[in-house]
């Protein structure tokens, strides 16, 4: 299983779109850097077709840095330690940027 790491907003590159089209059941998504903007409620539609088995996370420091609040409830906020733990739990990390 794969941890997909996305660091771009939905419009600054196709990173998010490409990652969404490449997920398998049981994978996870982690939004970092500018990627965290994708967890704004306005983008919720992008994630509705994800299989329920795909867990979604965002890096809390990056969201706080950008003043983001009331984000998409499907994303769990984690810190860098959580990021490392996810990298261990999933078999590999694929970066999309």
């Amino acid at each position: 299983m794969t941890l997909h790491l996305i660091n771009k907003t939905p419009s600054e590159s196709s990173a998010l779109r490409d990652s969404l089209s490449a997920v398998s059941n049981g994978d996870a998504l982690l939004l970092i850097e500018n990627g965290v903007y994708a967890a704004m409620p306005a983008y919720a539609e992008l994630f509705t077709r994800l299989p329920g088995s795909v867990q979604c996370y965002l890096l809390e420091d990056d969201a706080i840095a950008r003043g983001l609040k009331d984000l998409n409830q499907d994303f769990r906020a984690i810190g860098y330690d959580g990021f490392v733990e996810l990298s261990c739990r999933y078999g590999k990390v694929v970066s999309w940027f």
């Binding site: 790491l5 660091n7 500018n34 420091d61 810190g79 860098y80 261990c88 990390v93 940027f97």
Partner: protein, 130 residues
């Protein structure tokens, strides 16, 4: 678990190097190993000893140096990417007949083989791209 980390974004142009630094700190804190940090493409600028950001900003190259000293990290800068962009050690400066060199002594210039070897020997490779 054995990690290797790849950085392809330049500090101050992208967040990649800063994120990789934070991630590396957590990897080490949680008791894992970092086999190598490989700086590629614009990431090579993290190895500059001459970066002089304002005092109220993070000095990313020197933070890498500090982390490397504390944990004996192998910080490798891709030689082909670096030499093109003017990041040289003493040896390459001589090789290309340049008047100065700027690679921080805690970094090593080496080939892409070091990236591939890291991929072979590490359980996880995490890329911080720009």
């Amino acid at each position: 678990m054995i990690f290797s980390i790849v950085v392809t974004g330049a500090p101050y142009s992208s967040q990649a190097s800063a994120s990789a630094l934070q991630f590396s700190r957590s990897v080490l804190k949680l008791g894992h190993t970092i086999h190598r940090v490989f700086f590629y493409a614009d990431g090579v600028h993290s190895g500059s000893a001459l970066a002089a950001p304002p005092q109220d900003e993070a000095n990313i190259p020197s933070e890498w140096t500090a982390l490397a000293c504390e944990h004996d990290l192998d910080l490798v800068v891709c030689i082909a990417a670096a030499v093109r962009r003017g990041v040289l050690d003493e040896n390459e400066a001589r090789r290309y007949e340049k008047s100065g060199h700027n690679l921080s002594p805690d970094f090593t210039l080496s080939g892409l083989g070091q990236l591939v070897e890291a991929g072979i020997l590490s359980d996880r490779v995490v890329t911080f791209g720009a």
